[in-house]
C-alpha cells in the first residue's frame, strides 16, 4: 500500500460465540478471524447477522459467551475493561459527539482519561483536526450542533484516533451523511489510513463502501458465519457461493471501477494560480501550457476554484474564491468518483488532492479510458489462471 510504518497490531478472534438467554441460536456462533496489522477489514452482511455484535465484543461492550479475542497477542479479557477501551478507537454512526462539549473537549476525552498533560492534549487536538481537514482555529471551540453532518463525522473520526490506538473499531461510520459527503469522508479515511496504517474493523451494510475501503471484506451470514473472507477483487471476481453472489449484486464489472484509485493512474499537470498572485504571470503560465483555464489555489495549496483565463484578463491580481469549498477528489478516491466529478465539471478534468487537501494534479477522460483498456487487456491475459496469489496493490 504505502511504505509508512504500520501502527496497528494483529487482531485475532478464535471461536468467539455470543448467545443470549432465551434465544435458540447464538447471535455469533464460533467466529474465527485473523485481522492482519495495519489492514482495514469490512464486516458486511444482512441486518441481524451478528456483525455489530462481533465488533462490540472486541472492545467488550458485549462480553463473549465463549472464545478468545486477542489484540497484539493480549487477551482482551485479561485487561481492565475501561483501560482496554481507552486503547481501542471507537467511531460510530454520525460521530456520536457529546453535544454539551466543544469539538476540542470531545477529541480530548480519551487523552484526558489517559492523564496526558494539558499541553500534549492541546497539541494532539490541533494535530487531529488538521488530519481530518478541519481548521483547528475555526472549529476547536465550536459545539457539535454548529457543525454539518460531515464535519461532525470528521470530528468523530478524530476522536476515535485521539489516543493513537493501534486498533480502531467503526460501526457504520458514514451511514448518516449524504452520498457526496460520504464519498469524500471515505477518501479522507483512506488517506489517513495510508498515513497511519491502523488495524481497522469497520461494520457496513453498503457493499460499495466495503469494496472501496476494505483491504479485506468479511461477508457474514446469520450467526456471524463467514461466507467469504477475502480481498475485494476476489470477492467481486469469484464469489464463494450464491449468498455472496446475491449480496455483491449485479454490476460487479462496474464495481471494479471503484477498485482503482486515482493515484493508480498517471496525473496530468495543470496551470495553477495562487490567490493574490499577479494575473500577468498566471496568463503566461496558462499560455505556455496551452490551457484556457487555471486552478486557483489558496495559501495551503488547496484547490478552490476553476477559472477561465478570459475571466482573469483585465484584472490585476487573482481574486480570492467565493465560499470555502475545497475542489476535487482525493488521490485515494476511486475512478468512479473521479469520473463523476469530471462529468459534473465543465472543464473535462477532475482535480486531484493529496495530503491535507493539497493540489496534486488532474485526471482527464483520456487517461481514465486508457487505464480501463489496459486493465481489460491484463484481465484477458490472466484469464484461466485462478484467483489465488494476486496481492492487492
Amino acid at each position: 500500500m504505502t511504505d509508512q510504518p504500520i501502527s496497528g497490531v494483529d487482531l485475532e478472534l478464535v471461536d468467539v460465540t455470543k448467545s443470549y438467554p432465551g434465544q435458540e441460536r447464538p447471535a455469533v456462533d464460533g467466529l474465527t478471524l485473523h485481522v492482519p496489522a495495519g489492514e482495514i477489514v469490512m464486516f458486511i452482511g444482512p441486518s441481524g447477522c451478528g456483525k455489530t455484535t462481533s465488533l462490540k465484543m472486541i472492545n467488550r461492550l458485549i462480553e463473549p459467551t465463549s472464545g478468545t479475542i486477542t489484540i497484539g497477542g493480549d487477551d482482551v479479557r485479561k485487561q481492565k475493561v475501561d483501560e482496554l477501551r481507552r486503547h481501542i478507537g471507537y467511531v460510530i454512526q454520525g460521530g456520536s459527539l457529546f453535544p454539551h462539549m466543544t469539538v476540542a473537549q470531545n477529541i480530548a476525552l480519551v487523552p484526558k482519561l489517559l492523564k496526558w498533560d494539558d499541553k500534549r492534549v492541546e497539541a494532539r487536538v490541533d494535530e487531529l483536526l488538521d488530519l481530518v481537514n478541519l481548521d483547528p482555529g475555526r472549529y476547536r471551540d465550536r459545539y457539535p450542533r454548529e457543525l454539518s453532518g460531515g464535519q461532525q463525522q470528521r470530528v468523530g473520526v478524530a476522536r476515535g484516533l485521539a489516543s493513537d490506538p493501534p486498533v480502531v473499531l467503526m460501526d457504520e461510520p458514514f451511514g448518516a451523511v449524504d452520498p457526496i459527503t460520504r464519498s469524500r469522508l471515505q477518501d479522507e479515511l483512506m488517506s489517513i489510513q495510508s498515513e497511519l496504517r491502523k488495524t481497522i474493523v469497520c461494520v457496513t451494510h453498503d457493499i460499495d463502501e466495503a469494496v472501496k475501503l476494505g483491504d479485506r471484506i468479511c461477508i457474514l451470514q446469520e450467526g456471524a458465519q463467514v461466507a467469504q473472507y477475502d480481498t475485494p477483487e476476489h470477492v467481486l471476481a469469484a464469489p464463494a457461493n450464491r449468498f455472496v453472489e446475491d449480496f455483491v449484486g449485479a454490476g460487479s464489472g462496474l464495481k471494479q471501477l471503484t477498485l482503482t484509485r486515482v493515484d493508480d493512474i498517471e496525473l496530468r499537470s495543470w496551470p495553477t494560480a495562487s490567490v493574490g498572485e499577479p494575473v500577468a504571470e498566471v496568463l503566461a503560465r496558462a499560455g505556455q501550457a496551452g490551457e484556457s483555464s487555471v486552478i486557483v489555489l489558496d495559501q495551503r495549496r488547496r484547490p478552490r476554484a476553476w477559472c477561465w483565463v478570459r475571466d482573469l484578463e483585465g484584472q490585476d491580481r487573482v481574486p480570492p474564491p467565493a465560499g470555502d469549498e475545497v475542489l476535487g477528489v482525493d488521490r485515494r478516491a476511486t475512478l468512479n468518483d473521479a469520473l463523476d466529478d469530471m462529468l459534473s465539471s465543465s472543464y473535462g478534468a477532475a482535480v486531484v488532492t493529496g495530503r491535507r487537501d493539497e493540489f496534486l494534479g488532474v485526471v482527464d477522460f483520456a487517461s481514465v479510458t486508457r487505464h480501463i483498456q489496459e486493465t481489460a487487456q491484463q484481465v484477458e491475459a490472466s484469464a484461466g489462471s485462478g484467483p489465488d496469489g494476486t496481492e492487492r496493490t
Binding site: 462490540k56 472492545n59 461492550l61 475501561d82 483501560e83 482496554l84 477501551r85 481507552r86 486503547h87 471507537y90 460510530i92 454512526q93 456520536s96 457529546f98 453535544p99 454539551h100 462539549m101 466543544t102 476525552l109 480519551v110 482519561l113 459545539y143 457539535p144 450542533r145 476522536r159 473499531l169
Partner: protein, 208 residues
C-alpha cells in the same frame, strides 16, 4: 423599625429553609432517579409515589410528623424536603432516560467508567430538565414552607397564620398580607436566580 427587621429576618429564614431543603431534595431526587433508571422495576413505584405524594395535604403530613419530630424546624424541613423531592424526581427520571443511549454507549466504548459517564455525560445533558424540576419544586416549597408555620417552623408563614387567627383585629389583614406578599415576592426572586443559574450551568452546546 423592630417590626421591619423581624419581617426581613422572617423572609431570610423562609428563603433559607426553602433553599436548603430544595438543595437536599435535589440530591436525594437525583440519586433516586439514578436508581430508578438502573432498575426498571422501580419506575412504576417512583411514578406512583410522586403522583400520590403530591395529593397528600401538607397539613396532614405536618400533623403526622409532629409526634415524630416535635415542633420547630425539624418537621418543617422534613415536610418541605419531602414535597420538594417529588417534582425533581419525576423530571430527573424523564431527563436521565431521555439521554440518547448511543451517547452513553459511546462514552463507555471510549473507556469512561460508569460514574464518569453518569456525571460527565448523562447529568450535563439531563441538567436543563432537572433544573426545570428544581424550579417547580422551589415555587411549591415556598408555599409549603409557609404552611410549616403551623408547627412553628421558621419563616413568613407565622404572619399569615397570626393574621388569620386574629381576623377582625386591626392588624390582622396587614399581617396576613405581609406574609403572603413576602412569600410571593421572594418566590419570584428565587425563580429569577434559578433561571440565571440555569444559564450559567447549562452548556452552550445544548442551550435552547
Amino acid at each position: 423599625m423592630q417590626e421591619r427587621a423581624d419581617i426581613v429576618y422572617g423572609g431570610y429564614q423562609h428563603v433559607s429553609l426553602v433553599v436548603q431543603c430544595v438543595a437536599l431534595a435535589a440530591v436525594i431526587a437525583f440519586l433516586l432517579a439514578v436508581l430508578v433508571t438502573r432498575v426498571p422495576a422501580l419506575e412504576g413505584l417512583a411514578n406512583a409515589v410522586s403522583a400520590i405524594g403530591l395529593t397528600l395535604p401538607s397539613f396532614a403530613l405536618l400533623g403526622f410528623l409532629l409526634p415524630l419530630l416535635g415542633i420547630g424546624p425539624g418537621p418543617a424541613v422534613a415536610a418541605v424536603t419531602f414535597y420538594a423531592v417529588l417534582p425533581i424526581l419525576r423530571n430527573a427520571v424523564v431527563a436521565l432516560q431521555g439521554v440518547d443511549r448511543t451517547l452513553l454507549e459511546s462514552a463507555r466504548g471510549m473507556g469512561m467508567g460508569a460514574v464518569a459517564t453518569l456525571l460527565r455525560v448523562q447529568l450535563p445533558l439531563a441538567w436543563p430538565v432537572i433544573l426545570a424540576g428544581i424550579r417547580t419544586s422551589t415555587q411549591m416549597s415556598m408555599g409549603v414552607a409557609a404552611i410549616a408555620a403551623v408547627v412553628l417552623g421558621p419563616g413568613l408563614g407565622g404572619y399569615i397564620f397570626s393574621g388569620l387567627e386574629q381576623i377582625g383585629n386591626a392588624n390582622a389583614l396587614y399581617s396576613a398580607l405581609v406574609g403572603t406578599i413576602g412569600v410571593v415576592l421572594l418566590a419570584l426572586v428565587l425563580d429569577a436566580l434559578l433561571l440565571l443559574l440555569g444559564r450559567l450551568t447549562t452548556s452552550k452546546g445544548i442551550r435552547a
